[in-house]
Structure formats: structure tokens, C-alpha cells
Amino acid sequence: MLNISDLLEQIKQTPYREIVVSTPHTGVVNFASIKSGDAVHGPEGQWKERPGTKLATLTRERNPKPIFAPEKGVIDTVHMEYENTFVECGCPLVTIKHHLTREEVESIILKQALYLFRAPERAKYYFTPEIAAKLRASDPGSVVIHDGQELFIMSRMKRELPLYYSGPEGVIYATYFKTNENVDTDAPLIGVCPQEELPNIKEVIMRVQTEWQENA
């Protein structure tokens, strides 16, 4: 049985995550007026429609691309040496110290509570059209899957192969991959919860909701 109190205590020891904001592509960098110690916020709104604090602008082929803080936190480092220079893809611009949110703590604990079906190989994964349609049409956490069911399309090196689920029967509680993005070997694809365990999972969520204090 999962000891939620212990897990929460462990997370409270280091409740931060360091986020390195890097350039998504090449271009000329111009930083916004930011400095170490500044508080920044991530995207907000019901659909995250309001972007986070603007950190920099990356201009390529005359197209300025604003780079926003992906999460709330405090700026640790700003690489001002790149100001007004052409940089390569993946160049680190800003480091943010981010205090974990309830959702993130929930996700950390759920990854220990749920049955994780993992990627057998580094590849891109898609749900089969049938499962994707069910997930779109159903409430979250209500699509039931069973051992041996064809669940994914694994796509790599111009090949698409069916991938069959192996594990306990249950509902798809969490999805950890994004369409068109590569998933590393052994990274979790989905978290599955046997239906009889759903009350325990709800308890995990309740505990985190009540016991985790978020930074204002």
C-alpha cells in the first residue's frame, strides 16, 4: 500500500524544480527586462490562454517569437551574454526555480500509485483511432482497457507497428505522451487504475489537495 504521507514528506524536502528555458530554434535573442530574483508567472486562464511572463524575443526570418515563462517561479539565471546575438537551437536563456504545484505533486505520487504502461522503444506513439475516439467522447478516467488490447500505434523510422497493452484491466487515468513527440524507452505512456482501486486514487488526490501548500 502506498504511504502517501512519506511521499509527501519526501517531496517537501525539495519542493522545487529547476526549469531551463532554451531556444526552440535558431535566431537573434533580445531579452525582456528581467533579472535574477524576479518573480515570473506561467500561462494562466481556463485554457492557459494567457501566456506567462515574457522572457525574451527570438527573431528568425523577420518573425519575432516571444519566449514566455512556462511555469511560475523565480528567475535564477539570465544568460545576458547572448543579448542581440544569433544563437543555435537549444541555447539556454533563462533558469527558473519553480515551486511544485498541487497537480505536479499529484502526478508524482500517481506515477507511483498507478500501473504504468511504458514505451518499449524510443518512438512516437498514437492511440489507435478507436481508443482515441473513445477518449475524446468519454469522461476522463472512464475508458476501460484490458490485457492484450491493441492500444497504440508505434511509429519510428517510417514504420508503424501496433502495440498491445499488457497489464491489469482498468481505466486510463493518465496519459503521459504527446502526439508527434518522441517518447524515450521505458518512459510511461499511460497510467492505468483498476476500477476497484479508484477510491484509493481519489484519496491520493484529496490528500494532496489538502496538504500541499502552493506558493502564492
Binding site: T26, G27, P129, R156, M157, N182
Partner: protein
């Protein structure tokens, strides 16, 4: 071969818009011509030998890390910052994208696209247009649709017609091919032998095409079985007036997914093998048909005309590849220009692409001997050629004067990136005759050391045994 005008070529810088083995060969060609280059790489390719080559042989602005080889803005931004005057797309990625070629040549800071002009790519890069053009010039093509089909009922009607046509021709087991219209390189192609199967296969290909190519269009055509896959190598300069050919290739040895594995030049060899048709006549006819089309469109770069030749010796044009191909080296290896044997079609493509005239005519091109190309690939031929993923620990071969090997695998351990095909190396073998070619090919494969392991510690899978087995069958129908 004319010596390039040094001043004009030296004014240029080439952006190498590709990766791996072809990027190395483009850089080598630039070095040979004395033209500076700029290479690119993505984070997944940081271990590739093309990165090392660029650092070792390039000077200032030799290498940039980009987010993707398939992001035109990345290529343009790097080209501008490094002062490139031209872009070589290699094969794949932007090589046959007329919109990219047009953008390169029409933007404010204009550059040269080292491939055919964008109008030619648009005309010949589209299988449908090619088929229409070929038919208008009396060039034989495979029966089937001459435009992409988006409607399921229409697709089914065409398939029924193609089945009926084959039955009328006396073909006992008619087959219909369903191809993603926007596909290429053997991707998104399946065959059906029964109209009842058609609908489900059609839907699968349509969905695959939508996912991979963002275009649901499919082509329906007769599946010609029992054929050889031949190619004609063409090159023309920017005048578009005097295209010449560099002979034929036979690319019939392919994986189950119709990916080429072993290519031979020339396309047939009647001195050793028996054919049920006049092979020299067939080769001459496909060369002449290809040149007719090249002249008609004013072809102004390297390109390949791909042909099906049936057991009866009937040729059908499949498509035109408006780019340099993987197997270009096998044609170059047997070719001589004004007696010189150091033919490099990539260097020729760059030189003529930058405006130099071809400098020779068909009469100046001769051929000597036979050559083959092995594609060394991490895959399991016994398991439907499934790609193998893992780390290459060792790739070594013995040097011979008749052997050239091109690879992006470095001397150190190399993790194969899953984002791309698991092609490891190309080996080109030359010999004065076919029997000696087979012997030399097997000598190379027997001496080759290719070792690796996957995440589970299991030894690597590769296609060496498959290539050995197929070596005995080259150029046999």
C-alpha cells in the same frame, strides 16, 4: 571535364541542408571544388560523423545546431548568418519540395537551389503530372489513375477497372497497387488481389497518408509483378538544353517495404545472364525515353527516371526523382568523362547548379566495368526488415582500391537516432566484369566487422547475411 572557373565558384558558399552520409558527400564535393560550406545538425545527430567532418574541414561558420532538418526557416536563418549563396538539399527532406526551392530563389536575399528549377520539380515531382507528360510524349506508363483520388467510391471504381483491364490482358492473378499520392521512397504503398479487400486497405493508406504527408490523396494503379526496377541517371546544366545520361542502374533487390538494398550499374548484363528479351535494346529505349522527357522540360540538374521492366522486356515509367539519389555513386563509379575516372555526380550537380556549363557531351561519357552498392542497415531482414535500434560499437572494413565506403557512423560508439532510417553506410564496389564484382562484393562483406548492442544487451541485427545471399542474384531476372 572542364575545370571550373575558380573565381566564380569561390564566390559561393553552400548550405548543406541534410545529414549523415549525404551531408558528408556534399561537403567532400565542396572541398574538391574549393567551395566553402556550412553544415547543420539536430541534437539527435550530435554523434554523427557529418558533424565531425564539418568541424574538421569547414572553416568559420562551418556548423550550426538547428531544431529540425525539415524547418525551412532554420535553413534560411543559418544560410543568412553564415553568408551562404546556395543550398544543397541532398535527398529526402526538401530535395523535391518545389515550394522550398522557389522560396530559396525568390526571397529578398536570393540564393541558388542546387537542384532542378522549382518549376521542373513541380512538374516532374508530382507523379500525376509526370504520368500525364509521359503519356503526351508517347512514353509508356503503368495503367491506373492519373490524378490523386480522395473519394472512396471513385477509388473503388478505378480499382475495379484496373482489375478488369488485367483480366482482359490474360493476367491470371491481377493485383492493384494503392499508393499515397504524396508519398515516396516506398512509403505508403500496399497491394490488393481482391476488390473485397480494397476498401479496408484504401482506408489504411488514406489514414497513413493523412498522418505522414498531411494529404489523403491516393493513386490506384496496376501492380506489375515479376519485373526489374531500373533507373536512368540524367544530368543537365542550367541551360536546360543539353541533358546527358550516365547510364542505367538495376535496383530490383529491395526489402519487403520496397526499400532498395543493393543497386547495380549498368542495368542488365547480357554477357553473363540470359534474358528473354534484347536487354541492350531495352536499356537504350529507357535511356532515350528519359532523355526525351528531360529535353522536353529543359531539365537542369541531376535526376533519375525510374522504370519497371517486365519479364517480356516491356518498360513502364514509374516516376522521376528530381534530386540526387542515394545510389548516384554506383553510376559515377563506372562512368568516365573524357576518359577520366574520378566522376563525382554530386560535385557535377554543385558545379553546374552554380552556373558552370556541363562542358562535355554524351560522346565524352563512356562506361567501364560494373559496380554495385550495398546499403548497410541496422534491421532484421528475417523479421520483415524491422529497423533495429541500439548502439553501434564497431564498424570496420578492409580498404581496397575497388572499394569506397561512405558512412556517418563515427569510430567511437554510436547510438542510432530513432528519428531517421537506420542506414549505417554505403559501400560501392567496382570490378571489370560481373563475376569478379560478385567475388569482390563477397570479399568486402566477409571482411566487414559490424557489431553493436541494444538496451537489453542483445547483439545487433543487420542485413549483411541478406546482402551476401542477394549478391549471387544480381542482374538476374
Amino acid at each position: 571535364m572542364e575545370t571550373p572557373s575558380e573565381t566564380s565558384l569561390h564566390d559561393h558558399r553552400v548550405l548543406v541542408g541534410n545529414r549523415g552520409e549525404i551531408a558528408i558527400r556534399i561537403m567532400q564535393a565542396c572541398c574538391k571544388l574549393g567551395i566553402p560550406f556550412t553544415a547543420i545538425y539536430t541534437p539527435e545527430d550530435r554523434e554523427s560523423a557529418h558533424v565531425r567532418f564539418a568541424l574538421d574541414h569547414g572553416k568559420e561558420h562551418a556548423l550550426y545546431r538547428v531544431s529540425s532538418y525539415h524547418d525551412a526557416n532554420e535553413l534560411m536563418a543559418v544560410a543568412d548568418i553564415s553568408g551562404c549563396t546556395s543550398v544543397h538539399p541532398g535527398y529526402g527532406f526538401f530535395a523535391e519540395d518545389f515550394r522550398f526551392a522557389r522560396r530559396v530563389t525568390k526571397r529578398d536575399r536570393k540564393m541558388i537551389f542546387l537542384g532542378p528549377s522549382w518549376k521542373i520539380i513541380r512538374e516532374l515531382g508530382d507523379k500525376i503530372n509526370t504520368k500525364r507528360l509521359a503519356r503526351s510524349l508517347g512514353v509508356p506508363t503503368v495503367p491506373g489513375s492519373d490524378r490523386p483520388i480522395y473519394d472512396e467510391m471513385e477509388a473503388e471504381n478505378i480499382a475495379e477497372d484496373v482489375f478488369d483491364f488485367q483480366l482482359q490482358q490474360g493476367i491470371e492473378h491481377p493485383l492493384v497497387l494503392i499508393k499515397a499520392s504524396a508519398g515516396g521512397g516506398g512509403m505508403g504503398i500496399e497491394e490488393v488481389d481482391d476488390i473485397d479487400q480494397f476498401r479496408s486497405v484504401y482506408r489504411r493508406i488514406r489514414n497513413y497518408a493523412a498522418r505522414q504527408f498531411k494529404d489523403e490523396g491516393v493513386l490506384i494503379e496496376q501492380r506489375v509483378t515479376d519485373f526489374n526496377h531500373l533507373e536512368v541517371q540524367i544530368i543537365g546544366d542550367r541551360s536546360g538544353k543539353n541533358p546527358v545520361h550516365f547510364g542505367t542502374r538495376n535496383c530490383s533487390i529491395q526489402s519487403t517495404g520496397r526499400q532498395k538494398r543493393l543497386e547495380v550499374a549498368p542495368g542488365f548484363d547480357p554477357t553473363v545472364n540470359e534474358y528473354s528479351f534484347d536487354s541492350d535494346k531495352v536499356l537504350e529505349s529507357i535511356v532515350q525515353y528519359s532523355l526525351t522527357m528531360a529535353r522536353e522540360v529543359g531539365y537542369d540538374s541531376v535526376g533519375t527516371w525510374e522504370w519497371i521492366v517486365t519479364r517480356k522486356g516491356d518498360p513502364f515509367l514509374m516516376e522521376v526523382n528530381t534530386r540526387i539519389q542515394v545510389e548516384n555513386g554506383v553510376s559515377a563509379r563506372i562512368a568516365r568523362i573524357k576518359g577520366r575516372d574520378d566522376v563525382d555526380l554530386i560535385a557535377e550537380q554543385i558545379r553546374t547548379g552554380l552556373g558552370e556549363p556541363l562542358g562535355y557531351t554524351q560522346e565524352d561519357i563512356t562506361f567501364d566495368g560494373v559496380a554495385l552498392e550495398y546499403r548497410l542497415i541496422a534491421e532484421a531482414p528475417d523479421n520483415n526488415f524491422t529497423p533495429w535500434v541500439g548502439t553501434i560499437d564497431r564498424l570496420r572494413w578492409k580498404e581496397h582500391p575497388w572499394l569506397s565506403v561512405y558512412t556517418q557512423v563515427p569510430k567511437a560508439a554510436y547510438s542510432i537516432p530513432t528519428e531517421f532510417d537506420p542506414n549505417l553506410a554505403l559501400a560501392i564496389v567496382w570490378a571489370p566484369n560481373l563475376n569478379e564484382l560478385k567475388e569482390r562484393g563477397l570479399t568486402f562483406l566477409n571482411e566487414l566487422v559490424l557489431q553493436g548492442h541494444n538496451a537489453a544487451g542483445e547483439p545487433m541485427e543487420n542485413n549483411i547475411a541478406y546482402l551476401k545471399e542477394k549478391t549471387g542474384q544480381i542482374l538476374k531476372f
